[in-house]
Amino acid sequence: MTGAEILLKALVDQGVEVLFGYPGGAVLPIYDELFKQNRLKHVLVRHEQAAVHAAEGYARSTGKVGCVLVTSGPGATNTVTGLTDALCDSVPLVCFTGQVPTSLIGNDAFQEADITGITRPCTKHNYLVKDVNNLARTVHEAFHVARSGRPGPVLVDLPKDVVQAKGEYQGPSKLKSKYKPPVKGDIKAIEKAVDMIAHAKRPLFYVGGGVVNSGAAACQLLTQFVRMTGFPCTQTLMGLGGFPGSDPQSLGMLGMHGTYEANLAMHGCDLMINVGARFDDRVTGRLNAFAPNSKKIHIDIDPSSINKNVAVDLAVVGDAAHILEDMIKVWKARQARVDDKALKAWWSQIDQWRSRNCLHYENSNKLIKPQYAIQRLYELTKDRNPYICTEVGQHQMWAAQHFRFEQPNHWMTSGGLGTMGYGLPSAMGVQMAHPGALVIDIAGESSIQMNIQELATLAQHRLPVKVFILNNQYMGMVRQWQELIHGGRYSESHMHTHPDFVKLAEAFGAVGLRAEKPSEVDDLIKEMIAVDRPVVAELRTDASENCFPMIMPGMAHNEMVLGPEDRSVDKPGSEEDGMVLV
């Protein structure tokens, strides 16, 4: 078999259904082989960054490994943002890059880039295959590494002569990888955790993307355990959907734009049970004022997440599903009970915080408020259990606040890296994985222009993705920070000219819709979901709206700004008292 044949056979054996890619000189032998078969589908993107985000969307909405194929040099370097995004958000991917023939490596050959060198810090692991007889084993190991432990992106660099050479194939069952991250948690630690949970007076579950990554079983076990205990549960941006958003025990998202009740519960809790979250700075706020009187349990599959930003009292390292299963077993075996009296008092405190109704905004009958647009989108689509992707900025935070996710794998957003331009290609990947489903990219007019070329991909592959653009004429989150922190000097955050999104949609072979008044929003949404084609729906929203609540940089959870009238905006953050937040 040739290297190209070996590669495709290995992909089929790994259960790959679709590749997102873009051909070029160094990968032509692979594309030639792809042409001759019909097991693997290929989505032809318009920019390699989009191929990686599409594979991320595919992976995050299915739990499978996403797969990318691009050429050497610029094809490979264009994947760097996507790979970094996948590393930050722990998304399992395997990215195949073409490379110049081994005899030319290091010669500054045409379209040569040292992509294993470039991507070393932005992949979980990477390989350069120099011998065709190592190819099959390397591909199988790449998939194993991508999906095992804390998932992440793996890159495999394929010199052209290696994919043209003849070699032996070996199946995935022959793989003997030394990479075996632990799965089961230490039972003594789990027993201790159960003890701490039973004694808690003001407990809180703090749930992150690790639960979603662990799989549907982990989310189910988590939901079961949270309901058994009756404890409140808050989710990170990445953890949304890990616990049902409309459950009365859910406090919604926490952190910089989290809810009042979630952040104050975090600040006031005496026991925090962190399941698969990583104490990100957008969640913790100022570290020395973070949950000051709490004991902390941290369940995580990655030992390097433990005690990284926040020292914890008890760590349980392993897969969330296994640990939660054991925890429930121990809880039941011991017939453990929570402190009902204390919990009741805690809930009445939380309900008081809840009654502030922190996500309230002043609606208008003249201007479309972005929050209103998202609320209507939620109300009019929730019965269809849509997949929601987002770009990055205000619209993303409003989506996280006002959309509710009942299930995991229905929310695809760029969390750790904050990549504008993530949403549209990600939605393509989701739609490829779920052909009949309603897939919506909630976007801003600035973010969408970062990968707008992918509208052509939607048209070519007949992917009926809905792009829901909240157009406020500004890079909204930049404008918001400039208003609140930089004295209203809107330096370069205003784009004076925007394309006519309706005409643009039509030029790309999509349907263009526009709403300019609140009264037009419902009709726009109904039409958008009725059309079985890609749609770009532009909503001209209030340009001055800011996203609240907000914990200003360098502030603590109990120093939240609830709205424009809240004067605590003026308090400056301190750099002396812990990590500087930006």
Binding site: T116, R120, P121, K124, L128, S304, N307, K308, A311, G578
Partner: protein, 170 residues
């Protein structure tokens, strides 16, 4: 966490696959995350299993050292990470080649001090010596300092290699 926490020096032994790029992964981890490297040595130690051993001397707070070890363990080609400083007694040695140029009394004095340090001359000309000195890092430091006024012109050091005392492997 306070930033005033005590900073300690640790010697960490790392067993890795001897494959292309593995050293770059380790070094990249240290530079990318802002950790110190005071010295680093690497060589293959098991040809059959294709394993290399890296000895890193680093410093940091307790939390940082813990992070360094966990981050190292996260690398796919890393098999074992052992913090020799806290896992019991260990032996640490470093070799240095020290070139001293000069004539007359200084030349004689350099030879006399070399003898005290059990440093061997491994090259000699009419107006220079190269001494080979082996020992703990402190001893090598001390020897080099003493050579400074005696015509020290060049130094090449291996960095520390270390191993745990007692019968057990890493």
């Amino acid at each position: 966490m306070t930033k005033h926490e005590e900073i300690a020096r640790h010697t960490i032994a790392v067993l890795v696959d001897n494959e292309a790029g593995v050293l770059a992964r380790v070094i990249g981890l240290f530079s990318g995350r802002g950790y110190n490297i005071e010295s680093l040595t690497v060589a293959e130690v098991d040809a059959a299993e294709q394993l290399s051993r890296i000895t890193i001397v680093t410093s940091g707070t307790r939390m940082i050292i813990e992070q360094i070890k966990n981050q190292l363990r996260r690398l796919v080609p890393v098999h074992k990470v052992s913090d020799l400083t806290i896992e019991g007694p260990h032996v640490s040695r470093e070799l240095a080649l020290v070139k001293v140029a000069g004539t007359g009394d200084k030349r004689v004095e350099s030879l006399r001090i070399a003898e005290i340090f059990r440093a061997r001359p491994v090259d000699a000309t009419n107006d220079s010596f190269v001494f080979e000195v082996v020992g703990a890092t402190d001893k090598v430091d001390a020897f080099i300092k003493l050579m400074e006024p005696l015509g020290l012109v060049d130094v090449s050091r291996t960095g520390a290699v270390a191993i745990a005392r007692g019968p057990n492997p890493i």
